[in-house]
């Protein structure tokens, strides 16, 4: 099948790739571009492990086709934080032990960034509903929510 040439900006870098019409953005990121920080948990938009930002909008990359992203600006977990310093959200996840196995963590870090850009001062309930699309089977969410609220406070103080 003929492949389509797509040009995007991913984590600030110009990225060109070829993909089949049926390839999801998730497949392109992982299998074509080697960006395996974005995880596949379900492939049906139910678990959020593949969360990325497209033009600042939070999406499940398993529900987006690679060919749809021509001209888009995409941010994945690999683009969060600087090479020598973690993002506050990442630091708070570690401080609060908000991960056990860690497979949901990249998606949660991306979703939390989207949450705090939309709402820098979320209530616990707002955080819980915003992150309801990111499944975690290990933690019971307690430490995740505490990390998110602590990150929000720290980011507000430094803003």
């Amino acid at each position: 099948m003929a492949k389509t040439h797509v040009t995007t900006t991913i984590n600030g870098d110009l990225k060109e790739f070829l993909c089949e019409p049926g390839d999801t953005l998730l497949q392109v990121l992982r299998d074509e571009l080697g960006l395996t920080g974005t995880k596949e948990g379900c492939g049906s938009g139910d678990c959020g492990a593949c969360s990325v930002l497209i033009n600042d909008r939070l999406v499940c990359s398993c529900l987006v086709l690679g060919v749809e992203t021509n001209g888009d600006v995409i941010e994945t977990v690999e683009g969060i934080g600087d090479s020598d310093k973690l993002h506050v959200i990442q630091e708070k996840f570690l401080e609060h032990a908000a991960l056990q196995c860690g497979i949901c963590t990249p998606g949660l870090v991306v979703s939390t960034k989207a949450l705090l850009e939309e709402n820098p001062n979320p209530t616990e309930e707002e955080a819980r509903y915003y992150l309801a699309g990111n499944l975690c089977r290990c933690t019971g969410y307690d430490k995740i929510i505490k990390a998110v609220l602590d990150a929000a406070e720290t980011m507000r103080e430094s803003a």
Partner: protein, 738 residues
């Protein structure tokens, strides 16, 4: 160990050594490895729950230009290896999703397309989908050579009942004769799944020289090696299994599904192979925890003294006999209670569902749910506070268990007292709200762990352990090594060795890693200390007994002189070569961890929707090495148990097909479904561990079932006896009662 040890590093909340990789996406899980020239494998699965395979025609798939290899059961070299019929079905399929054939093709989508070219001729049989169906006289048989094990007399005819268990102590007749109040009730629980977020996956390479590599997500890579080597008929030394980061397991990543298939495909195609299950394959073909039907009868005197406890348990195994956790279910059911007269009989049945796998404290949640529900009802009948009733009959040091040993020092009394004085227990409830309390017991295991600590020239060390780190255990290993060597935590890195780096280690399971592998780390660290002291002694020309080890340095007690680990390791080449410590142990003395949970739940009487208002998990850790990750285990176990109680269940249609193999319809708890989960860590040290550790990973999933079951029952004023208590079931109970 002493009762109150002063610890320098243990008990702190350090940053886990694998943390940066996990928050940045650098950590590599099962599906993250790509090899040069790699192609993709996929499995063809049965659309039928129960059928005879008349024939499989793979010729069209083999002719496809994008296909490199096709295999069926006949291509597995060792046809008699254990579990081989679950890897690929032989002449019969036993569940919807049973693996039938596999292909390797240039891309994953090409492999999926090629599966459609394989023609399988089935003779469809009637499926057996429940305990009630399995034990009825006119039920179809799954296996015509299955005769119930454990009966007084060997049965003359085959059945779907695969085994019978029995345990007892005392004399039930005496016990029930003393009882003034008796409560008996039957409970049912549904088939559930561990629900780990990372699907099973592996990347493998079979080389022309006969040496092979497997990269996979597993709780036990040595077990993957043993199983795969056996199925392929190869020597273990020619197979290296590398444990990737593991994205959850909860027992469900103990079994092996893909690896032998992938390796045969790699051998046939001459290329590296990647295989990954998609989510519906995970639900259909891996996991499930047994559905059960359990009956419990308990008698007590009016003062609350329990006189007799009797249970009859029935567990589904899935299709494969012996796959249920019936044994531990029987052993755990009454252990929180010091009662003279106890009896349990258990039955395992086979049904046309996927082969059951271990799920966190396997067997205990279902059996203890039945016991704890009856205890709470008994408390109501007697007019005694349910915590007081438990305290009056509490298991403690010296209690004779039904399954054999007497308990050593355990922390159930402390957990119950902490529950009673907790904030939550003192809070008043409103209309449509209910509170449930429940205890939980799990044995924990020890077993084989292998550890090497390699000391570097600068005095830092690398801990190489054989236990896949499923929830932050590398942090605990660092802390235990630091404590023993009296050096900063940061002086140690911790990695999971391949099967070629270390001798055998048991899988991460049974809440054994921080306990047993921790003991191996301490032993390896002590070995390092002893060698460091010897080197210092040689340098000073004194005997090693005259050297102390303090604050990460050797001290000459017969003269002047201090040598740090860095100094000794830096000159190790001149004093006898570089230093590594070894701890290859078979750990004994894993001590039980008891828990008590409190659940407050509100039910909307118009919709049946439940809201968990407040939850507290209290559990004995012996000694919490890293308190944050101990709390995390309590919270995570609670959340899984809450899901089991309130929402989760496999739904099958009348043909035995699984109708909800996805996270949308098999609904595990979301962030918006749960409140904060308060934790109280009780610490009654385990005298067998140098730092007092008990395993803590599993117990937390046990109490939520009855805590939630009781809370919902109280909220609606109707005794619920079936899980999950999903909104439709609650609504039906309300309507049936009115």
């Amino acid at each position: 160990m002493s009762e109150a040890q002063d610890f320098k590093y243990i008990g702190q909340r350090t940053i886990r050594p694998d943390g940066h990789d996990k928050v940045t996406g650098r950590a590599n899980y099962a599906a993250d490895l790509t090899l040069p020239g790699m192609i993709w494998g996929k499995i063809l699965r049965s659309p039928h729950a129960h059928a005879v395979i008349n024939s499989i025609d793979t010729s069209k798939a083999e002719e496809d230009p994008e296909v490199f290899a096709v295999m069926t059961h006949a291509d597995i070299p060792n046809q008699t290896a254990s579990g081989v019929q679950n890897i690929l079905a032989k002449d019969k399929v036993f569940y919807h999703g049973h693996a039938v054939a596999a292909v390797a093709a240039v891309t994953e989508s090409a492999a999926e397309r090629a599966l459609g070219l394989i023609e399988v001729d089935y003779k469809i049989l009637k499926p057996v989908m429940s305990i009630d169906e399995a034990i009825s006289n006119d039920s179809p048989l799954l296996h015509d050579d299955l005769f119930t094990k454990g009966m007084a007399e060997d049965p003359a005819v085959p059945s779907n009942i695969s085994s019978r268990n029995e345990l007892s102590k005392g004399d039930l007749e005496v016990g029930f004769a003393e009882a003034e109040v008796i409560v008996e009730r039957e409970f049912r629980t549904a088939t559930v799944h561990q629900g780990y977020i990372e699907p099973h996956a592996c990347t493998v390479r079979y080389d022309e020289d006969g040496q092979s590599m497997i990269w996979c997500s597993t709780q036990g890579h040595f077990a993957v090696r043993a199983t795969t080597a056996s199925m392929l008929g190869i020597e273990q030394t020619n197979l290296n299994v590398i444990a990737s980061e593991i994205g959850g397991g909860f027992g469900g990543k103990l079994p092996i599904y893909l690896e032998p298939v992938a390796l045969v495909l790699s051998k046939k195609s001459g290329r590296p192979i990647k295989m990954q299950m998609d989510r519906n394959e995970v639900f259909m073909a891996s996991g499930p925890g047994s559905a059960t039907r359990n009956w419990v009868k308990i008698g007590a005197k009016k003062d609350g003294t329990i006189t007799a406890m009797k249970a009859k348990l029935c567990y589904e195994a899935g299709w494969a006999p012996g796959s249920s956790p019936l044994g531990p279910a029987c052993m755990t059911v009454f252990t929180p209670y010091d009662v003279d007269h106890q009896y349990v009989e258990g039955y395992e049945v086979v049904v046309n569902k996927a082969r059951c796998a271990a799920y966190r404290a396997p067997g205990a949640p279902q059996s203890e749910y039945a016991c704890e529900m009856v205890i709470n009802e008994l408390a109501d009948e007697l007019g005694i506070d349910p915590i007081d009733l438990r305290l009056k009959n509490v298991a403690k040091e010296g209690t004779q268990t039904m399954y054999g040993p007497k308990l050593k020092a355990v922390g159930l009394v402390e957990c119950l007292e902490a529950a009673k004085s907790s904030e939550q227990y003192k809070t008043a409830l409103k209309d449509n709200q209910g509170r449930g309390v429940a205890s939980g017991f799990w044995f924990n295991v020890g077993g084989e762990s292998s550890v090497v600590i390699n000391m570097n020239e600068d005095g830092t060390g690398t801990i190489v352990e054989g236990s896949p780190d499923i929830g932050g255990s590398r942090a605990s290993m660092q802390m235990m090594a630091a404590e023993e060597l009296q050096m900063p935590v940061e002086a140690f890195s911790a990695i999971i060795g391949d099967t070629q780096n270390l001798p055998y280690s048991n899988p991460t399971g049974g809440s054994r890693t921080t306990f047993a592998t921790g003991m191996a780390v301490v032993e390896a660290a002590a070995d390092v200390v002893s060698q460091l002291k010897e080197r210092a002694a040689a340098t000073w020309n004194v005997v090693p007994e005259h050297v102390d080890w303090k604050n990460g340095a050797a001290i000459n007690t017969k003269g002047e002189g201090v040598l740090t680990a860095a100094e000794i390791c830096g000159s190790a080449a001149k004093t006898g070569g570089h230093i590594s410590g070894r701890g290859n142990i078979s750990a004994r003395g894993a001590s039980p961890s008891f828990a008590v949970h409190l659940a407050d739940i509100e039910v909307d009487p118009d919709t049946g929707k439940t809201t968990v208002l407040r939850y507290t998990a209290i559990q004995d850790a012996g000694k919490a090495i890293h308190p944050s990750y101990v709390e995390g285990q309590y919270q995570g176990g609670s959340a899984q148990g809450i899901g089991w109680a309130l929402n989760e269940e496999y739904v099958y249609n009348e043909d035995g097909r699984l109708e909800n193999p996805g996270f949308l319809d098999y609904r595990i708890p979301l962030a918006s479904d749960l409140p904060m989960i308060d934790t109280i860590i009780v610490e009654v040290p385990n005298s067998f561990h140098p730092f007092g550790v008990r395993g803590i990973g599993e117990t937390g999933i046990i109490p939520p079932l009855a805590a939630c079951g009781t809370a919902v029952s109280k909220a609606i004023g109707i005794r619920m006896s079936e899980l999950p208590m999903s909104p439709p079931k609650i609504l039906k109970a309300i309507h049936d009662a009115s």
